[in-house]
Symmetry: C2
Subunit: 348 residues, 2 copies
């Protein structure tokens, strides 16, 4: 806590804490990655997992968007699946189809066989990358750590990769409720220690990516997910760093996600920000929510859409401008630059 | 109108009109199709498009689930893409990847080149299938016609198939607003004549499938979609048949979809039915909304989930029990049978 209070906090951290800011802070999910030519050039020589596994490369990639755009936060370059190897599940990234887990978790026995790994042993390269980035980063810009939420990670583990309907995940959840709890409990344990290690290594805020949780109805969310996301947030609470709770397609789950926890709730473009605050109260910090596809629109449309998001936020304390989901690989970096500039200008 | 009033209307049509029913009517999206062994046997000999194009086969497939389950409605077996050929777009179904449109619509010129087809010329086989089914169907069971909504069809036309992010669709919409309006206008014209022809051929209700509309934020829905869906419903209004307006991931769009029109609003499992009625008023008939994945759960869990849907509907007039999206191919038909029976028993 001392270190944090000694340092001048920038507008991202101030907004997370509902403090006054000179203009709306902005960062972009997946701001480091495939839409940047300098990242693609690195990827000609290294695989995604090679970059994640090498602290210098991961730090370099994390900083690439910071050099280009006037962003208020950097997010460490990593993948939400990194903890799986230490837990005993091997995976690879297949061209065009995303992650493929060689032996998906499909039985209570497979859950029992999973380890709860020590992040300092298995993911020390992430901690080292965080330290390198924090050293380079301007003190006014925050460094965000992150991990996958228990539900989203469990769904990858059970499906064996991406999914449209989450058929195997839901079947497992309904059929093996005890093994489901065991799996979610192990994931909570792993991710609490992983995020704590990230905070120890320089992360000043952490984001929980529950990207696929919007596939669940409310009753299922409350029964199979909420207790575990809550336990995870509880495990970080004493650290005093802002906790961002993010999901997509969560319009019907906002109150439940708020109940699970998080200093900041991240929402996608399917909900209107003014309605989100109406539902959750002005004491809730909110991150979002431009449609990443708006970056494909002609500039005047993009500008109008940036303005619409800011107009709905009405300059409330606790708004952090972001996309509603990650920036897409075919995005023009100049559109991101224009967006960041407009957020600055229009929110002053 | 005379014919309709002379015939004893079953509980599905009564519920659509907010009239009293003895128990909650039930049908299932994609109730005719790949999860039924008798359908799969037919598919060994005929392609999907061969079945759609042959009135006897389409009628047979439409009736298959009615012979198995005590359903309150049959929905004509067809595909939402059928009108595309008459409009000048060729497509095929590629194994495992769904529909593939050979020449996606990617320019204003491509929109201008599209025809507005006459359903009696190009889709007379659908009308014949409707007549055959109506003749076979018990008078207490309704026959539902359907078509794709303008947005969902436009997205297939522009993407060239299924999509995750609707990148090309949104890019087109933002970049070519006039061509977008022209495309949507042509689709409205085609679908109004198509649905009217279906009503002429025995359809007693029609469902508009706007399956992918939940990819849009509210402002985009109101600007690029609502006026066209409304025009489509207006073009059917004088027929006096119930109009079902269905979409998925529409939790933030319910009021806007209600404004666009429809006698019945179809919703997915992501929203709680009691909250839907709170928002839309008890004068709105609602269809839904069991998670199709609940059919993969052990029977006691399935039963509990059927009860939860009925409990939220609280026996309100205008509830039609259905899934929140189509039944999935790996579903056990016996689970569907159990679900239908429980809806009957529990809603008496």
């Amino acid at each position: 806590m001392t270190e944090k209070n000694d340092r001048q906090e920038g507008r991202f951290l101030r907004a997370c804490r509902l403090q006054e800011v000179d203009c709306t802070p902005v960062w972009v999910m997946r701001q480091a990655g495939r839409y940047l030519p300098e990242y693609r050039r690195l990827r000609e020589r290294y695989t995604l997992l090679e970059i994640c596994g090498n602290p210098e490369l991961a730090a370099e990639v994390t900083l690439q968007p910071i050099r280009r755009f006037d962003l208020d936060a950097a997010i460490i370059f990593a993948d939400i699946l990194l903890p799986l190897k230490g837990m005993g599940l091997d995976f690879r990234f297949a061209a065009g189809e995303g992650p493929v887990i060689s032996q998906p978790v499909r039985s209570p026995e497979a859950v029992r066989a999973l380890h709860t790994m020590d992040p300092w042993e298995h993911l020390s390269h992430v901690m080292e990358a965080l330290r390198l980035v924090r050293r380079e980063l301007d003190p006014g810009r925050a460094l965000i750590g992150f991990c996958g939420a228990p539900f989203t990670l469990a769904s990858y583990m059970i499906q064996g990769g991406k999914s449209k309907n989450f058929l195997e995940t839901k079947r497992f959840m309904y059929t093996h409720p005890d093994a489901w709890k065991e799996l979610m409990g192990k994931l909570v344990q792993v991710q609490v220690s992983y995020l704590n290690a990230q905070v120890d290594s320089g992360a000043q805020a952490v984001q929980l990516f529950d990207s696929w949780v919007g596939s669940l109805g409310r009753a299922d969310y409350r029964e199979y997910v909420l207790p575990f996301s809550r336990a995870l947030f509880q495990g970080l609470k004493s650290r005093g760093v802002p906790l961002i709770h993010f999901g997509t397609v969560t319009g019907a789950l906002l109150e439940d996600m708020q109940e699970a926890g998080g200093t900041v709730l991240g929402v996608d473009w399917r909900v209107d920000l003014d309605q989100v605050w109406d539902r959750l109260g002005t004491g809730q910090a909110i991150q979002g929510n431009l449609d990443p596809l708006a970056l494909m629109a002609p500039r005047p449309i993009l500008k109008r859409k940036v303005r619409e998001v800011l107009a709905q936020a009405r300059g409330r304390r606790g708004h952090i401008f972001n996309l509603g989901h990650g920036v897409l690989p075919p995005t023009d970096p100049d559109a991101v630059a224009a967006m960041v500039d407009w957020v600055r200008e229009e929110s002053k």
